[in-house]
């Protein structure tokens, strides 16, 4: 089998290269191979001494304003430049970043004591005024008014009643009502502390790459759009001995195979790749794989304005007819965990549905029985239109679902969406105008169950686009966010999870692993779901 593989790959390579060679030569003269010179150049560079991390990134950031952009392609860059007051430890407790310590005099007041002597990249010291200004900017309270900042919504900082600087190094934030998720929200890059004079010098906009001026371990140096971004070490960084690297350069390499190829040759030394590539680097001692369980999960959301889907039996039947392990095997090469909408990485917040919910047991017969009860049979099959999101893994999941649901009298018609269609359809998935009965996609649980549960499934939740409404769930969500008692929160959220999973307004499938493929020489990099791009103690060995 191995031989067959090799033979075929070589013949394919040969067939295609023939085209190229036929091209180069015009029959007789062969062009001097650029291959040799290039390889020599690459090895001639003292790469290890450089201490520059070369990061292959799949998408060019769509802007550099931390208050308006949340896409991973952008955050992986500007999180090196901007910092927030606090951040997560790997065990999901909080650690101070720009805030050295904090206290909660009552359940709506947060007092942050800022680190002293922290400098922005323009050399000025960061003070409490900058913190106040940054939050005012998010909330639309500066001269520039509303900037469409995602952080201004209720699920982030919308509940802030006042924010004041007590002195140069103390900030007091007062909320309108208690919000247990507030601390977790502060770790979001929407809470980045920006430099007032830079905002003003750029007429309120921080979208341009050269306006990046934060307090972070790396500063912006130069870039060629759609090609590379170079960050260099901040020599005045507040943390002793950090960062160890002299810089990070991001190279745009949109195609997975290109990233893997560049990693092999050492032209980059870090990139994220999907599980399919694991077998390729097995036994390659120059490449190691760092993985972590992500906070994301794949789902199939139902348009509840569609009459046939209002029947809870149909939704439950589909849940039982889905072999989640098969999805994981086919789509993620076996490298994912069965998930609900509170991804397994959320630890103690998770209700173990795979073990406890009957709907998570793959049981085609029971599912068929439910469908028959609902009036479906081989002669009366249901047609389910399904919109599939943008990622390969989503589209692949849709194909598997189509096959599995076939067994229980459901004929799925898949439509892959283009990016613009996706955002349009997403917003109206609770109306017939959406044009689809269901949507297959991937969402993130976030870092606090408030987002995972209320944001997606409470009646007024911003991402509850399905038309799902259950007063009990709403009540539990309200309870859980109003108290800071962890045990009380946990029991409320677990209760809410049981209800949502039983009613199945969405089906949930898998939470994928995320992989960094890294040169063996890269040390001191330990990604985890809540912070996958911390390079403060990363260095290149030798």
């Amino acid at each position: 089998m191995k031989n067959m593989k090799k033979w075929l790959s070589l013949s394919l390579a040969g067939a295609m290269l023939m085209g190229v060679l036929a091209g180069c030569g015009g029959g007789t003269s062969s062009t001097p191979a650029p291959v040799e010179t290039g390889a020599a150049e690459a090895t001639g560079e003292p790469a290890a001494v450089e201490q520059v991390l070369k990061y292959g990134t799949d998408t060019w950031p769509a802007g550099f304003d931390p208050h308006t952009i949340s896409a991973i392609a952008a955050t992986r860059v500007f999180n090196q430049v901007y910092e927030t007051l606090i951040d997560f430890n790997p065990d999901m407790t909080f650690k101070g970043v720009l805030a050295e310590s904090w206290e909660n005099p009552d359940d709506v007041t947060y007092v942050f004591h800022l680190r002293q002597g922290v400098k922005f990249h323009n050399g000025r010291e960061m003070t409490a005024d900058d913190v106040v200004y940054s939050f005012q900017r998010v909330l639309g309270q500066t001269d520039y008014g509303d900037i469409g900042a995602l952080g201004s919504t209720d699920s982030y900082y919308g509940g802030i009643a006042s924010i004041e600087a007590n002195d140069d190094y103390t900030v007091t934030i007062t909320l309108g009502e208690p919000n247990a998720a507030f601390m977790a929200n502060l770790t979001s890059s929407y809470g980045a502390i920006v430099c007032r004079e830079v905002v003003e010098a750029n007429d309120g906009s921080l979208s341009a790459i050269d306006t990046m001026c934060g307090t972070g371990p790396f500063m912006y140096k130069e870039s060629v759009v759609d090609n590379y971004i170079s960050l260099v070490k901040n020599p005045d960084y507040w943390e002793e001995g950090a960062p160890k690297l002299n810089g990070i350069t991001y190279y745009l390499l949109a195609d997975e195979s290109a990233r893997l190829a560049a990693l092999r040759t050492g032209d980059i030394n870090l990139c994220s790749l999907s599980a399919l590539n694991l077998s390729d680097v097995e036994g390659d001692e120059n490449i190691k794989v760092l993985s972590y369980q992500s906070n994301n999960y794949t789902y199939l959301g139902f348009n509840l304005s569609s009459e046939k889907l209002q029947d809870v039996r149909v939704r439950q039947a589909m849940s039982m007819a889905v072999d989640r392990q098969a999805i994981i095997d086919y789509v993620y090469n076996g490298e994912a965990a069965v998930s609900t909408f509170v991804a397994p990485a959320m630890g103690h917040w998770v209700w173990d549905a795979p073990a406890e919910s009957p709907l998570y047991t793959y049981d085609v017969e029971a599912a068929k029985a439910l469908m028959e009860e609902a009036g479906y049979s081989d002669s009366n099959r249901m047609t389910l239109t399904m919109a599939a999101g943008l990622m390969d893994s989503i589209r692949d999941t849709a194909v598997i679902l189509q096959q599995q649901l076939k067994e229980i009298y459901i004929d799925v018609e898949i439509t892959n969406l283009e990016s613009g269609e996706y955002v349009d359809v997403w917003g109206i998935m609770d109306t017939p105008e959406a044009g689809y009965d269901s949507m297959c996609g991937q969402n993130g649980s976030g870092t606090d169950p408030n987002r995972a549960v209320s944001f997606f499934f409470s009646t007024t939740g911003g991402a509850n686009v399905w038309g799902y409404s259950n007063p009990e769930v709403d009540e539990l969500c309200a309870q859980a966010v109003a108290t800071t008692d962890e045990a009380e929160r946990e029991s409320a959220y677990i209760e809410a999870q049981k209800i949502v999973i039983d009613e199945s307004p969405n089906l949930f499938f898998a939470s994928p692993m995320e992989y960094f493929f890294v040169s063996s020489s890269v040390e001191g990099f330990e990604p985890f779901a809540a912070n996958a791009n911390n390079f403060r103690s990363t260095y290149i060995a030798q």
Binding site: M1, M4, K5, L8, S9, S11, L12, A13, A15, D255, E256, S257, L276, S279, D280, Y330, A388, L390, R395, D396, A398, V399, I400, Q402, Q403, E413, I414, T415, N416, L417, E418, G420, E421
Partner: protein, 277 residues
């Protein structure tokens, strides 16, 4: 005008024409009788990434679907899209180019103005637009690819017409008082047959591949239906690891384009009046 039958008969007499006809007919037969020929349903999932074996002659893909069956069914989509899309582009482009090249002056200017607009328009945007108007699937895909192809045909034909008009015998015909349309059809068309058939066969491969790009962006053929282009695009990441997934659709694309080209060349030779001497 020669009848279709006599043209075919002449084609058959030419060895290259024979190969072309047999090849094209075989492909069409494969497409039409796909359900009878395919050993498995094209969407049946199973053991993934199986190398070619007696059970799965072309191996299996990432879902464990039989690549041979998908290639056979894919012939339907790819040939349909290729032929009809190029047909739309060729017919529209041919007529417009003929008219523009013959009349020149303002007719030419108006037509070429539209062609330039169309040509400079990003084809992906055009496809998004057409799928927003006409919906998704094979029909809109063919229309989108067809429209993208119009300017190329139009310019090719127009250039050939302009150059043919300079030829003596066309000038003579005109001076003898032959009317416009008969002149176009009888005397100019044969001159543009050559570049035109070349363009058409080239556009065919372009169309098969554009369809792949569109499927990739979410606009072309919808899953689980196979097309050669989308199979190749899906298998691209596996070209070293599991090469059969991409190799076989690629092989069929290449063979298809070859036989259509061979047929195109032979057809050109048969139709070209000047070769008769």
């Amino acid at each position: 005008m020669k009848s279709v039958i006599s043209t075919l008969r002449e084609l058959w007499r030419d060895p290259m024409g024979k190969i072309g006809i047999i090849g094209v007919v075989l492909l069409i037969v494969v497409a039409i009788f796909a359900p009878q020929l395919a050993p498995y349903p094209y969407d049946e999932i199973g053991m993934r990434f199986q190398p070619p074996s007696a059970e799965h002659l072309f191996g299996t893909d990432k879902f464990g679907r039989d690549v041979l069956s998908r290639v056979i069914y894919g012939a339907r989509v790819s040939l349909e899209v290729g032929i009809i899309a190029v047909g739309i582009g060729a017919v529209c482009g041919y007529l417009l180019g003929l008219v523009a090249g013959y009349f020149e002056r303002w007719v030419d200017r108006v037509i070429m103005c539209f062609m330039d607009i169309l040509f400079a328009f990003p084809s992906i945007l055009l496809a998004i637009f057409i799928s927003a108007v006409l919906g998704k699937g094979i029909g809109p895909t063919m229309v989108a690819i067809g429209i993208v192809n119009i300017p190329v045909f139009c310019r090719t034909v127009r250039a050939a017409v302009i150059s043919a008009k300079g030829l003596e015998y066309v000038q003579n015909a005109k001076s003898v008082g032959v009317k416009t349309w008969p002149l176009l059809v009888r005397h100019i068309s044969p001159n543009v047959v050559a570049p035109f058939t070349v363009q058409a066969t080239l556009a065919l491969s372009g169309a098969i591949l554009t369809e792949a790009t569109l499927s990739f962006l979410g606009m072309g053929i919808q899953p689980p239906d196979p097309s050669w282009g989308s199979m190749l695009s899906e298998g691209r990441a596996d070209m070293i690891r599991d090469p059969w997934v991409a190799l076989f659709p690629l092989l069929f694309i290449v063979v298809t384009i070859l036989v259509f080209n061979i047929l195109g060349d032979a057809l050109r030779d048969v139709l070209d009046p000047k070769l008769k001497t």
